[in-house]
């Protein structure tokens, strides 16, 4: 069964059809790229998939479960986690605590247990710390665990966002321009990290990216969006050589 199956998803803002009949099928374990010129509706698509916006047409299924019309919190619990194009870290919290927020729903002890420092508090906290350090070490961030997240350099902030999203234990991970603002060597490192987390955490990935080196380097399939509609969809070599796609990117 497909991990994500979306049929004819669409939304309008006022008179503008921002996304129209977006359909995609992502198999379990696949790494899909979502590309398109600026303003094509890529981030809007992510907002639809994560319940920030409610679609006015279409259906979406995650691992066979209908998640159409669910809100952001329910969709995260169902198994979709995301990062943001404009970084949205919890700035006044430590790097470790950012990841522990991601772990929030995977561990449960009551508020009272936390205030009264009952044994369940210490047990869960110890496990959360271990797991959080585990995830941070994959991103080479464990030595920064107690820094304030706002004090991290830009590249590390982007990585922390991915780490935090992974901590929610998602089936599907949505990355919104993970390499934005990174230099070539950082991008190179990021590509390796993404490859690594796919294996280690058994997660399916859909990513938005402008860096064609990254897209053609690691994506197994590519979906091209232009003016809110599908321009091409398929294997990288087919899509990137498609004359329509080249026209959309380079102009006439």
């Amino acid at each position: 069964m497909a991990m994500l199956s979306v049929k004819n998803l669409g939304i309008s803002f006022g008179g503008l059809r921002a996304v129209d009949s977006f359909s995609i099928t992502i198999e379990k374990g696949e790494l899909y790229g979502l590309i398109g010129p600026n303003g094509a509706g890529k981030t809007t698509t992510f907002n639809l998939l994560t319940g920030v916006y409610k679609p006015d047409t279409g259906k979406m299924f995650l691992d066979g479960v209908d998640i159409t019309g669910k809100n952001t919190i329910e969709i995260n619990k169902a198994g979709i986690a995301r990062t943001f194009q404009n970084i949205r870290l919890f700035k006044n919290m430590s790097v470790l605590d950012n990841v522990k927020i991601g772990l929030h729903n995977n561990y449960s002890y009551s508020t009272a247990a936390g205030i009264l420092r009952l044994p369940s508090f210490f047990k869960s906290e110890r496990q959360m710390n271990e797991r959080a350090h585990d995830i941070l070490s994959v991103f080479n961030l464990d030595q920064d665990a107690n820094l304030l997240s706002a004090n991290l350099p830009y590249g590390k902030q982007r990585k922390l966002e991915i780490a935090r999203a992974l901590a929610t234990n998602p089936k599907l991970l949505l990355l919104d321009e993970p390499a934005a603002g990174m230099n070539p060597s950082e991008t190179e490192e990021l590509m390796e990290t993404i490859t690594l987390i796919r294996k280690k955490y058994d997660v399916t990935i859909l990513l938005i990216e402008h860096d064609m080196k990254l897209v053609s380097g690691i994506c197994e399939k590519i979906y091209v969006l232009n003016f809110g509609t599908e321009l091409a969809n398929g294997l990288p070599q087919d899509v990137l050589n498609n004359p329509e796609v080249i026209k959309a990117y380079l102009g006439e």
Partner: protein, 362 residues
Amino acid sequence: MKMKPAKQVSNSTRSNLITIGAIIIVYIICQIMIANGSISNLMKGLLIPLCYYSIMAVSLNLTVGILGELSLGHAGFMCIGAFASAFFSKVTVDTIPNVFIRFTLAILIGALAAALLGSLIGTVVLRLRGDYLAIVTLAFNEIIKNVMNVLYIGVDSEGVHFSIKDAASLNLEEGGQTIVNGPRGITGTPKDATFGIAILLLILTFIIIINLVNSRSGRAIMAIRDNRIAAESMGIDITKFKILAFTISASLAGVAGVLYSHNISTLIATQKNFGYNMSIMILVFVVLGGIGNLRGSIIAAVVLTLLPEYLRFMQDYRMIIYAIVLIVMMIFNWNPKCIAWRKNHSIKGYLAMLFNKQKKEA
């Protein structure tokens, strides 16, 4: 590099222990001074108020600093806690002669009443944001205060009677007792609050909030403050944790109210003690002590309560001076020019300069 962050964390635990230690030391010093009579009557009368103002400030900091929502109605919860517990103590003063049991129950009842009201108001208002939330909490505060002034509650053998008209319409039978008497409030509450209990409650409040902040729920609350949209995308139930924080904050204000009502003989809800003026005064403590800084809240509450008292020799000018201090402090803290000046003239900076000079000479 690897050691430094670890040190930061132990520092914060240590700093909390220092705060608690300092409170205990101050308590011991005060007790010694009371024992040998070297404390003024004015100061002696202020000891319990200093504790409940501190509890108010620390608990409001949970809403303003940790949850990041502006509330101008904190005194309303204090009011509920004060009235609910005073009602209980006055009714049970003969049936529960043991002061310890009675006052413990009174504290729990005050906290519970404020928590119930807090969760109710929180459910209603927390979807509003920023200044709208502020004005609505202020509105609730005024409603609570006004209602307390028209409420009559009496007890007789048949049970509890309510009225919002006058004491006569309670229709109490012979021997029945009017407990809450409209604008005349509750008189004759047993004076069960002591300085020791007040200090203990302050320390408990402090520990409750510190422990909450450093737990799963506390992190969720702070995540909502820092970035609501990201918190939602992490599956954090925004509404639940907002109401949770607001409720805990309210219940602790209720505890402050219990101390208040068991330290005076006549409990009346006025503009000064439970009106928005009080809420604003507590907010001033929180802001001047540092938003999110619990120790700062206590220090600010103590200093700003004592300041006008010790400015009494200046009589009519003292509140004007207080107002000017407030304005000047805000400007000194936040004006870009003042921030730059402080950077250039900080003690640390001078020390560093001195140090560099010595280095060069060496």
